[in-house]
Amino acid sequence: MTTERTIGEVARLLTMSVDTLRYYEKIGLLPKVSRAESGIRHYRDKDISRLKFIKRAQQMNFTLAEISDLLKMREDPQHARAEVRQLTTNKLKEVEVRLTELDSLRRELALLVNLCTASEEGCPIIDRIEEDE
């Protein structure tokens, strides 16, 4: 079953502003959203999925132009142009590097939290931060 949501509902769901949602549609990042006779936008699941992708890509610091290309690849991976394929490959590598860094950070923080929990006097997290300063 397809769920249809209004722009306000989508804004709340994705914690984006309604202006941003309208802007993405205006610049073509999001295809024209279907509208009721009254003119109210009705976002479908496919639109939400696309917006979630845009949001994730933005959090990875991709530009809107890059995201536009990545969306083309997402829509039709078999027929993507060579440069879009290359961009996507490069971005995949960037994501993998970030993941490795994040994983390392996650493990470091987990270790520090465990040490801090076990500590009766002082906290290694603070010691570590002071060391780095």
Partner: protein, 94 residues
């Protein structure tokens, strides 16, 4: 060739000194010669500890592999060292 056994410790854990002492004594008493070991303070060498996947102290790595994530019994430690020595001999033979 690096150190054979690394005992990951911190100043905040009560079992860390016991773990280091146990390794030191066992190597001496059980005649594990040519086995090197060192104590790693995880706060001072946090990158090294994280690379091993250390999440708590004490943890013990044997042959660059994290084998214990808590204080082992003397028997468990002895068995792990014997296992390591056996695999090292196999590698040397091949």
């Amino acid at each position: 060739m690096g150190v054979d056994i690394e005992v990951f410790t911190s100043t905040v854990c009560s079992n860390c000194q016991r773990a280091s002492r146990m390794v030191e004594q066992l190597l001496k008493e059980a005649g594990f010669e040519n086995i090197t070991w060192r104590e790693v303070n995880v706060v001072e060498e946090i990158d090294h500890a994280v690379a091993f996947g250390v999440l708590a102290t004490p943890s013990i790595a044997i042959g660059r592999e994290l084998v214990f994530t808590a204080l082992p019994s003397r028997q468990q430690l002895c068995k792990a060292i014997q296992h390591y020595l056996a695999s090292r001999r196999t590698n040397d033979d091949n």
